[in-house]
């Protein structure tokens, strides 16, 4: 019996997810031994043509991390979709849009202008173009899309591995399940469907009638290392975030920022987290409520840190005028892309 073929790919991401695979440490060798890796641009020298040569559905599973922002990313994930039995959205960015997804607060034009023209370190202000004539011929660069999308806004996704990056234990579980051919129902998030408080060591210290008069940021206090962080006024999103990570941030005395995404019954992580947190505000008069609420300086960045593209609104409103996005001028994605 031949070993299952797997592929790894990265889109708009930081590389942390790739690190997480390597973090499997000795286990990574077992994985390498148990599967046949057919594509892994960050680590192994395969070409797109190698993937194109495979039969449709020949790859048992593609693990794709990162959000989708460029034409090239779309092209490759569509290819991988065709060639794969299962596609796993690997990490917060692929599932929910992740940190790169916060770029949906700006228009494409604003971002390009900032990066290529307005930053003090920019000298010539040249904009990247999709087609460039060079002495050697014509170069094609990927197109930089209007907005950041989650993987399942581009291709059908079978499984989601949450986290920024996904916890090693969950990756190992997923790969083992794959190798052993006992994957759950398609659509499953491969993590416990319960919020982080369930595995938080500080849960017992959370009061039943918590009412918050103020919110503080981690740098403003020395948090008690034993007590529930939310009870100390820190915006801990643990109650609105999936478990499965073992609460390492809380162990480091830092509040949960929500990278494991929402639980299964929640459609919009930010809105639900906001609802829970707002309900704990102590005052009940408009001025009092406003005074507490305004201490949350960046509500979008707080509640949608990892999930803006997956949110119900998807992006800042009015940034595309409601028109289907067509580039006003051909502009290519920055930084080229993977070798082809």
């Amino acid at each position: 019996m031949s070993k299952p073929k797997v592929a790894f790919y990265w889109c708009a991401s930081c590389g942390g997810c790739e690190e997480a695979v390597v973090d499997l440490a000795e286990q990574v060798l077992d994985v390498v031994g148990a599967v046949d890796i057919v594509f892994w641009p960050v680590a192994l020298d395969f070409k797109v043509a190698d993937v194109e040569a495979l039969a449709d559905g020949e790859i048992a599973a593609s693990f794709i991390n990162g959000a989708v922002r460029t034409s090239e990313q779309r092209e490759i994930v569509e290819l991988l979709r065709r060639k794969s039995k299962a596609v796993v959205a690997f990490g917060a960015c692929a599932w929910l849009g992740g940190i790169p997804g916060l770029a949906n607060l700006r228009t494409r034009e604003e971002i390009l202008a900032e990066v290529y023209r307005d930053l003090p370190s920019v000298a010539d202000g040249a904009m990247p173009r999709e087609e460039v004539e060079v002495p050697e011929g014509r170069l094609h660069l990927p197109r930089f899309d209007e907005d950041v999308r989650t993987l399942d806004q581009v291709i059908p996704v079978d499984y989601y591995l949450p986290g920024c990056p996904p916890p090693v234990a969950l990756i190992a579980q997923a790969v083992t399940a794959l190798v052993e051919g006992r994957l759950p129902e398609p659509g499953t998030v491969l993590a416990p469907d319960v919020a982080l408080c369930s595995e938080c060591p500080r849960r017992a210290t959370k009061p039943e009638d918590l009412k918050l008069e103020r919110f503080v940021r981690p740098q403003e206090i020395v948090a008690d290392p034993e007590t529930c962080l939310l009870a100390q006024g820190l915006l801990c999103l643990g109650p609105a975030t999936r478990a499965g990570c073992g609460a390492p941030c809380v162990a480091a005395n830092m509040p949960c920022t929500g990278c494991m995404g929402p639980t299964g019954r929640v459609r919009d992580q930010g809105a639900k987290a906001l609802s829970a947190i707002a309900s704990l505000i102590a005052p009940s008069d408009p001025e009092g409520v406003a005074k507490v609420a305004e201490q949350i300086l960046d509500p979008v960045g707080t509640f949608y840190r990892y999930s803006l593209p997956a949110s119900l609104l998807h992006r800042r409103v009015g940034t595309d005028g409601g028109r289907p996005a067509e580039p006003s001028e051909p502009v290519a994605a920055a930084g080229g892309g993977e070798p082809r």
């Binding site: 319960v194 009638d209 109650p239 609105a240 929402p262 639980t263 019954r265 609802s275 309900s279 704990l280």
Partner: protein, 671 residues
């Protein structure tokens, strides 16, 4: 809970088959909405197997349409597009149940109150009706099979407040064989009515009609009367309340005192020492006292604030000596009782407006300015002057002004009409004239005399020669403008009928103070979990159709705590409240709302967000399992916890996230 019920649900034979029934409501709907178009539209919606129209869906034949389609298996879920669910949801749920399924596999689309009655353009109305039908169809497809739930009712009743409202309600219930706990804060029942001399318009003596009822309360085997007591804690829910009552010490044993009053005579104080509360400070009482001769129970009270034994520890205790029954017990302390009741009637009454808030009327500054309630005491034969109308200096008034609407119908204080002041002012005018022969001037805005015999009474007073001057009084002053005014109080008012300003010199001014909520209304409201309107009176469930019920099931209202009213209305309302309580008790069980919250334990992370949010303490945290749990009998179904639950583990029956989201999509997408 949901799972449990699901397991018992009968087969629905496959997926949703929805019946849509569009009501014409005569022309109320069909006159604006194109019903035929809505029906045709409904037929195109997913899962709809039957769509019909009918002139009056709420009629028997209309309901029969639903029941028959259900019985024949054509449909297994029902949408009725007609009036508001607040009007006929119960009707159609019943019809759905009659059809052999859960009454909750039903959803109503309001196309009358929300559409035909408020939309001018028929095409707009038809489109809007379609949107609401589409929403209901989407929603009902997601409804759960729920069984109606009931809880047993404890047969005893708590009545709070021993005025005429509480007395009447308690007697009605007790006569019907129910046990009643009547709790009164003062040392006697009787309330304000006991302070009045006569009652309008019949002029029968208040005590003569009240005191027999007071005695009946005391004698009734089904009534436990707790005076000098208050309710300090209420828990539980309709049909099963637990009430904690505090008894303050009177320092006299109620079971021994016979009310002979020998102790009062024997008190070391030969004269009254402190202002008598019952006489509104117009006379003085001793530290050992009884508010009035017919006080019920007829048990004296010792006021530790003024009794020298309590203050100094040195007193020959002549009162104790005088008591043949050895009823005194200076060691008494607060005691508590805890009782179970099924229903609660609140009859906590009112207080009168404090006219010091209108300084231009001079109350508190001029000794001869009285409140109407003070005059009631002056007129009363058992009052401070034994019924003589004499001023504070002992003289008899020859001219008296009565100012109506003091604190009422005045946007500075209370915008509402206190409803009783016109009539009692006319009554006082009659009685003061009868007792003193003085000229009486009533200053009024309008005369409101809408009760039985009231207009006739007004007419009688007019014919007796009382001067009625229409106009609001500007001020009461002792500054004389003419020699004739010297030594008198002068009432300045505009006479709006004559169109001129007038100055009327009088010896006595009576302020017809309005009725306002008791000062501790807010505490009582919280204690019993009911609501108050803007003015502070308790809010009835419906101003017309549920005037004695509250939004808290099992708690009823009687008398002026719900709003100003006269004695006949108070008694009628007390009877109604008693009847509502009786109906509930005799049925033996109360239907519980289906729309309670519940927590899916597997999805609960134990974050406790919900626990502190529940206004009814219906959510507890199970320390052992580390999960929150809703007591669905205590839960009132607001959904606060559901909206707050950050992991979607809390859900509300009939208002799940999925159902509401389906409704949102429905009203917007139409399909």
């Amino acid at each position: 809970m949901a799972e449990e019920l699901t397991a018992r649900a009968p087969s629905l034979n496959g997926g949703p088959r929805i019946g849509v029934y569009v009501c014409h409501c005569g022309l109320n709907i069909a006159g604006t909405v194109d019903v035929q178009a809505v029906v045709e539209f409904a037929r195109t919606l997913p899962n709809v197997t039957v769509a019909r129209e009918y002139r009056f869906m709420c009629s028997d034949p209309g309901q029969e349409l639903i029941e028959q389609d259900l019985r024949e298996g054509l449909v297994n879920r029902v949408v009725v597009a007609s009036c508001s669910p607040l009007m006929h949801e119960a009707t159609f749920r019943r019809a759905t149940a009659e059809g052999g399924t859960s009454p909750y596999l039903f959803q109503m689309a309001s196309i009358r109150e929300l559409v035909s009655w408020v939309t001018a353009d028929p095409e707009d109305a038809t489109e809007k009706a379609k949107a609401h039908v589409a929403a209901a169809v989407r929603r009902v497809a997601l409804h759960e099979y729920l069984e109606p739930r009931e809880a047993p009712v404890h047969p005893d009743v708590l009545v709070v407040g021993g005025g005429i409202a509480g007395i009447h309600a308690a007697l009605t219930l007790a006569d019907a064989g129910k046990h009643v706990y009547l709790v009164e804060r003062e040392s006697t029942i009787g309330g304000h009515m006991a302070m009045f001399d006569k009652t309008f318009p019949t002029l029968d003596c208040a005590a003569c009609i009240l005191t027999p009822k007071m005695s009946a309360v005391r004698a009734h085997p089904n009534i436990t009367l707790w005076t000098y007591s208050d309710v300090v804690e209420v828990s539980g829910y309709t049909g099963d309340f637990t009430v904690r009552v505090r008894h303050r010490p009177r320092y006299v044993r109620e079971d021994l005192c016979t009310g002979c009053l020998a102790c009062i005579d024997a008190c070391v104080h030969k004269q009254g020492k402190v202002p008598d509360e019952f006489n509104l400070g117009l006379s003085k009482r001793k530290p050992v006292y009884i508010p009035f001769p017919q006080a019920t129970p007829p048990v004296v009270v010792v006021d530790p604030e003024s009794c020298i034994w309590f203050k100094t520890g040195k007193c020959p205790q002549t009162c104790v000596e005088a008591c043949e029954r050895d009823a005194f017990d200076f060691t008494q302390t607060e005691t508590f009782d805890e009782v179970k009741v099924g229903a609660i009637i609140l009859a906590t009454g009112f207080r009168t407006f404090d006219p010091r808030r209108i300084p231009e009327y001079g109350y508190g500054r001029y000794p001869n300015v009285y409140t109407s309630l003070e005059v009631e005491r002056l007129l009363n034969a058992a009052g401070p002057t034994a019924g003589e109308i004499v001023l504070r200096d002992g003289s008899r008034p020859t001219a008296i002004g009565i100012i109506h609407c003091v604190g009422s119908r005045d946007v500075r204080f209370h915008a509402y009409c206190s409803r009783v002041c016109c009539m009692y002012s006319l009554k006082l005018a009659h009685m003061l004239r009868e007792r003193t022969g003085a000229e009486i001037y009533n200053f009024y805005i309008d005369i409101r005399a809408p009760g039985k015999g009231y207009e006739e009474f007004y007419d009688k007073i007019l014919r007796e020669g009382v001067h009625l001057i229409r106009g609001r009084v500007a001020e009461v002053t002792d500054e004389a403008a003419t020699p004739e005014e010297e030594g008198h109080l002068v009432i300045r008012a505009e006479d709006t009928l004559l169109g001129m300003a007038r100055r009327i010199p009088v010896d006595m001014v009576v302020l017809a103070v309005g009725l306002e909520p008791q000062p501790d209304t807010e505490d009582v409201r919280r204690l019993f979990n009911i609501s108050c309107g803007g003015e502070g009176f308790f809010t009835e469930r419906h101003p017309k159709l549920a005037p004695v019920s509250t939004f808290t099931d099992g708690v009823f209202l009687a008398g002026a705590c719900q709003g100003p009213k006269d004695i006949p209305d108070t008694v009628a309302q007390a009877g109604a409240a008693a009847a509502e309580a009786l109906a509930m008790i005799d049925r033996g069980a109360v239907a519980l709302e289906a729309n309670t919250a519940h927590i899916d334990e597997e999805r609960c992370s134990g974050c406790k967000t919900c626990v502190g949010l529940c206004p009814f303490s219906a959510i507890t945290f199970d320390e052992e399992r580390q999960k929150a749990r809703v007591n669905e009998v205590v839960c009132k179904g607001c959904g606060i916890c559901v909206a707050a639950c950050p992991s979607g583990a809390a859900q509300q029956h009939l208002f799940t996230d999925e159902q509401i989201l389906a409704e949102i999509e429905g009203v917007l997408a139409y399909v």
